[in-house]
C-alpha cells in the first residue's frame, strides 16, 4: 500500500526505480520498493543510503499517512461501485503490515456481472483504474478470501474464485505464513514441522491446544475457512477526501494549483467510479506552524469538470490568500448525483438540466457563485435589498395572464413603470440643499443645477439595531446635464448619494 499510494499521487514515477522510506534522511528504513528498484537489488528493510548505493537512479519518497488513507478510501470506492456492502479490512502488523484489503459482499452480483468471475474481474479493473492494481479472491468467508488473495499476490495471478464449499480444499495446500500467525506461534509451528494448512488440519485440535495454547484456535478456524465476522455493512456516507503532505511549503499559487489539480483528478476518478459528481468543496491548507486555513467553495451545480472546480479554487485563493505557505493540503467533497435529463413534452423550452448545470457552473467560475442566479425581490423595506435565488426555471408554462402592456395610441409606444437602474453601491454626491430641497448636485455621474425635483419620501427601518438602522429621504431629480435619478439623503450617515437612475 505505501508504494501504491505514492504511485497514485505521483504517476510520473511509474516504470522508474522508486522506493518508499519511513522518514526523510539517509538512515531511514526502506518500506517498499518498485519492481524496477527490486531488479537493482534494492530491498525493503535496508537504509536509504544502502539502497542508493545499490541503485544510483533510485527515487525515494517519504511515506505519507495521508496518501495511504486516501488510497484505502479509493479502494473502498472501487469496491462500493460493484456492491453496496463493502468494508475496509483492518490493518495488520508484522509480515503483512503493508497490505491493504477490502471485503465486498458478493451475494447477488451475478445479476449485474453474470458470474462471480465477472464480478472479480470488474472489481480488479475498477481498482486499477483508480491507480490501485491488485488481486481479487472470492470465497465463502472473509478469512479464506483474504488468505487466498495473499497467495495470489505471490503467485502472479490476478483473480481466483472458489466454488461454494470449496474453501477448505483451496486453503489446504497454502503456507501457514499466509494465516499471519505471530512470531512465537510461527516458530513453534516450524519446530513441529508444520508448514502447510493441510498439515495443521491433520492433527487433532485437542493435542494442538495442549501443546500450543488457546492462541492456535483462531488459526484453526481460519484454516478451516470458518469466519464468524458479519457481512460488511451497507455504505452510509458519500464523502470523498484526498490529502497530501507537500515536500516543502509552497509560497506561490501556481505550484499549489498544480498539486490541487492532481488531487481533483483523483477525487473525480473516485466520484465517477461511484456515479457521483463534485458537490461543495472543502479545502484545508495546513501550515508548518500548526495553524490551518479551512474554507468552503460552493458550486452552482454538481459537476465532473475539473477545470471549473480548479478555477473556483483559484478564485477563492486569489480573493482570500492563505496566511502562510501551506505544507499540507486536504480536499474533500460530499458526492452529489448529477442531475438526470429526462425528456418532457410538456416542459417549457429551455436548456436541458445537465447543460444548464454546466452553464451555471461556468458562469459561477467567471462571476462568483453568489453573483449568478435568478433575481428576487427581498421581503425587506430597505431600498437596496434584493436577493439572488438559485436559477431553477419553472417547468410549467407561464400562466395565461392579461397582458400588462396597454395598447397605446398608434403614434406613441408607451409602457407602464419607468425602469430604474440601481447603483451598487450608491454613488456619493455633494448636494446644496437649502431647506432640504436640492438645488445643485455634484457627483461622478450627474452634475449641475437641479431643474426638477420631487419628494422627499421617507423610508426608515431596523430601528432596533444600532448598526443596521436606516432613515432615508428620497428625491426624484433632474439635473441640467439630462440625468434623471433618485437622490438619497441618509439621516444616519448624514450624507447624500445617488442610489438609482431612471432609464
Amino acid at each position: 500500500m505505501p508504494l501504491a499510494a505514492a504511485l497514485r499521487a505521483h504517476p510520473e514515477l511509474a516504470g522508474r526505480p522508486f522506493a518508499v522510506a519511513s522518514a526523510a534522511g539517509p538512515r531511514a528504513e526502506i518500506l517498499a520498493v518498485s519492481p524496477e528498484a527490486a531488479r537493482s537489488a534494492v530491498r525493503p528493510g535496508t537504509t536509504v543510503v544502502h539502497a542508493r548505493a545499490a541503485c544510483a537512479e533510485l527515487h525515494v519518497q517519504v511515506t505519507s499517512p495521508a496518501l495511504e488513507r486516501a488510497a484505502r478510501d479509493a479502494l473502498l470506492d472501487a469496491a462500493l461501485s460493484t456492491s453496496p456492502r463493502a468494508e475496509l479490512a483492518p490493518a495488520h502488523t508484522g509480515l503483512h503490515a503493508a497490505e491493504a484489503a477490502v471485503f465486498v459482499d458478493a451475494r447477488g452480483v451475478e445479476a449485474l456481472f453474470h458470474s462471480e468471475t465477472g464480478f472479480a474481474s470488474a472489481l480488479g479493473e475498477r481498482a486499477a483504474r483508480l491507480g490501485l492494481p491488485g488481486v481479487v479472491a472470492v470465497a465463502a468467508s472473509r478469512g479464506a478470501a483474504r488468505i487466498l488473495a495473499r497467495q495470489l499476490a505471490f503467485s502472479g495471478e490476478s483473480l481466483r474464485v472458489v466454488p461454494p464449499g470449496g474453501d477448505a480444499l483451496a486453503l489446504a495446500p497454502l503456507s501457514l505464513d499466509l494465516l499471519n500467525p505471530d512470531d512465537d506461534l510461527a516458530n513453534a509451528l516450524t519446530r513441529f514441522g508444520l508448514h502447510r494448512v493441510a498439515d495443521l488440519l491433520r492433527l487433532p485440535e485437542r493435542t494442538l491446544t495442549q501443546r500450543l495454547g488457546a492462541r492456535i484456535v483462531p488459526l484453526l478456524e481460519l484454516a478451516r475457512g470458518h469466519d464468524p465476522s458479519p457481512p460488511p455493512p451497507a455504505e452510509t456516507t458519500t464523502r470523498f477526501e484526498e490529502a497530501q503532505e507537500l515536500e516543502f511549503p509552497v509560497h506561490r499559487l501556481e505550484p499549489l494549483l498544480f498539486v490541487l489539480n492532481g488531487m481533483l483528478s483523483r477525487l473525480l476518478e473516485r466520484l465517477s467510479c461511484r456515479s457521483l459528481a463534485l458537490g461543495e468543496l472543502e479545502l484545508e491548507l495546513g501550515f508548518q506552524s500548526g495553524g490551518c486555513d479551512a474554507r468552503r467553495i460552493g458550486l452552482a451545480a454538481p459537476t465532473l469538470d475539473p477545470r471549473l472546480a480548479l478555477r473556483l479554487i483559484a478564485l477563492s485563493l486569489e480573493s482570500k490568500p492563505p496566511g502562510d505557505a501551506p505544507a499540507h493540503v486536504r480536499l474533500a467533497t460530499p458526492g452529489a448525483p448529477l442531475r438526470g435529463d429526462q425528456l418532457d413534452f410538456f416542459r417549457s423550452p429551455g436548456p436541458s438540466p445537465a447543460v444548464l448545470d454546466q452553464t451555471l457552473a461556468e458562469l459561477a467560475a467567471l462571476c462568483g457563485t453568489e453573483r449568478v442566479g435568478a433575481p428576487a425581490v427581498a421581503d425587506d423595506h430597505h431600498p437596496d435589498a434584493y436577493e439572488v435565488a438559485a436559477f431553477r426555471p419553472p417547468h410549467a408554462p407561464a400562466a395565461a395572464t392579461p397582458s400588462s402592456i396597454e395598447r397605446a395610441p398608434s403614434s406613441i409606444a408607451a409602457g407602464r413603470h419607468l425602469a430604474l437602474r440601481a447603483l451598487r453601491p450608491p454613488v456619493h454626491a455633494q448636494v446644496d440643499a437649502p431647506g432640504d430641497q436640492p438645488r445643485r448636485v455634484r457627483s461622478p455621474l450627474a452634475n449641475g443645477e437641479v431643474i426638477h425635483c420631487a419628494g422627499p419620501w421617507r423610508t426608515t427601518g431596523r430601528w432596533w439595531s444600532e448598526d443596521e438602522r436606516y432613515a432615508f429621504d428620497h428625491y426624484d431629480v433632474q439635473t441640467g446635464d439630462g440625468w434623471v435619478f433618485r437622490l438619497r439623503k441618509d439621516h444616519v450617515a448624514r450624507c447624500w448619494s445617488i442610489d438609482a437612475v431612471y432609464d
Partner: protein, 240 residues
C-alpha cells in the same frame, strides 16, 4: 480542354414522388430553390415599436440598443423581459455594471424566476458569460448590458464578428445595451434612443413619465432611418 461532365438529371417520376412525400409529411424542406423560411422575430410587446422593428428583434441575430443615461433603454429592456417571460421563455441578463433592479423589473411584469442574472466583474467576463449562455441554448433572449453609466467600455473589435457567428447558430435574440454604438456593422439591427425629457407633475411634484424617441438606425433585413416617440410612465394611471 475537356468540358466537365454533364450532371445527371433526376428522373421526373422520382422528382414527383419526392415532392409528394415532402407534402405528405408537411416538411418545411424545399426541393430545389424555394422561398426561405421567414425570419423569426422576438416582439417587445409594444405595438408601435414592434411595427417599427417589423415584428420585433430578429432571432439568431445580434442587435444593439444605444443611448445616454435616462433615455429609456432600461425600460425598453424590461418590456422585452416581461414579454419574453410571459411567453414562458427564458431570458438571461449579463449585467456588467450590476445595475439590474429586481423590484423595478417585477413591477414591470417580469417573471423573475425565468431570468438568469449574471454579474461578471468586467467586460471580457461579460462577453464570455454571454458565449456560455448562447452555447447552452434554450434562452430566447440574451441581454448583454455594457451600458456602464457615463463611460464607454473597451471591447476588442474582433469580439463582435465571433459573437455574431455564435448567435447565428442559435435561436436567441442577442441584444447589447451600450452607451454609444459599439458593434457597428456586425449588428443586424441597431436602435438609438435620444436624450429623454422627464415630465414632472406639479402640485404635489412627482415624476410622471419620461418621453423620448427611438430611432431605427440600422436594419440589415429591412428599412431603417425611421423613429417613433416613446413615453414611459413612472406610475400606474389607476394609482394616480
Amino acid at each position: 480542354m475537356l468540358s466537365p461532365p454533364h450532371p445527371p438529371q433526376p428522373h421526373p417520376r422520382i422528382q414527383e414522388r419526392v415532392q409528394d412525400l415532402l407534402q405528405m409529411t408537411g416538411s418545411s424542406v424545399q426541393l430545389g430553390g424555394g422561398p426561405g423560411l421567414p425570419e423569426q422575430r422576438h416582439p417587445t410587446g409594444l405595438g408601435p415599436l414592434d411595427a417599427l422593428l417589423e415584428g420585433g428583434f430578429p432571432r439568431g441575430r445580434l442587435s444593439e440598443i444605444a443611448g445616454p443615461a435616462s433615455c429609456g433603454r432600461t425600460s425598453l429592456t424590461h418590456a422585452l423581459l416581461a414579454h419574453t417571460t410571459a411567453s414562458g421563455e427564458l431570458a438571461c441578463v449579463v449585467d456588467r455594471a450590476d445595475t439590474f433592479d429586481p423590484g423595478s423589473a417585477r413591477d414591470r411584469g417580469v417573471d423573475l424566476a425565468r431570468v438568469l442574472w449574471a454579474r461578471p466583474p468586467g467586460v471580457p467576463e461579460a462577453l464570455r458569460c454571454a458565449e456560455h449562455v448562447l452555447r447552452a441554448g434554450g434562452f430566447a433572449l440574451v441581454l448583454i448590458d455594457l451600458a456602464s453609466l457615463g463611460e464607454t467600455p473597451r471591447v476588442s473589435p474582433a469580439v463582435w464578428p465571433r459573437m455574431r457567428k455564435l448567435v447565428a447558430a442559435t435561436s436567441a435574440a442577442c441584444i447589447a445595451l451600450t452607451h454609444q454604438r459599439l458593434i457597428g456593422s456586425f449588428a443586424d439591427l441597431a436602435l438609438e434612443l435620444g436624450q429623454a425629457r422627464p415630465c414632472f407633475e406639479a402640485g404635489p411634484a412627482w415624476l410622471e413619465s419620461l418621453e423620448g424617441h427611438v430611432a431605427l438606425v440600422r436594419n440589415r433585413q429591412g428599412q431603417d432611418g425611421r423613429s417613433i416617440p416613446v413615453r414611459w410612465r413612472a406610475h400606474d394611471e389607476r394609482a394616480a
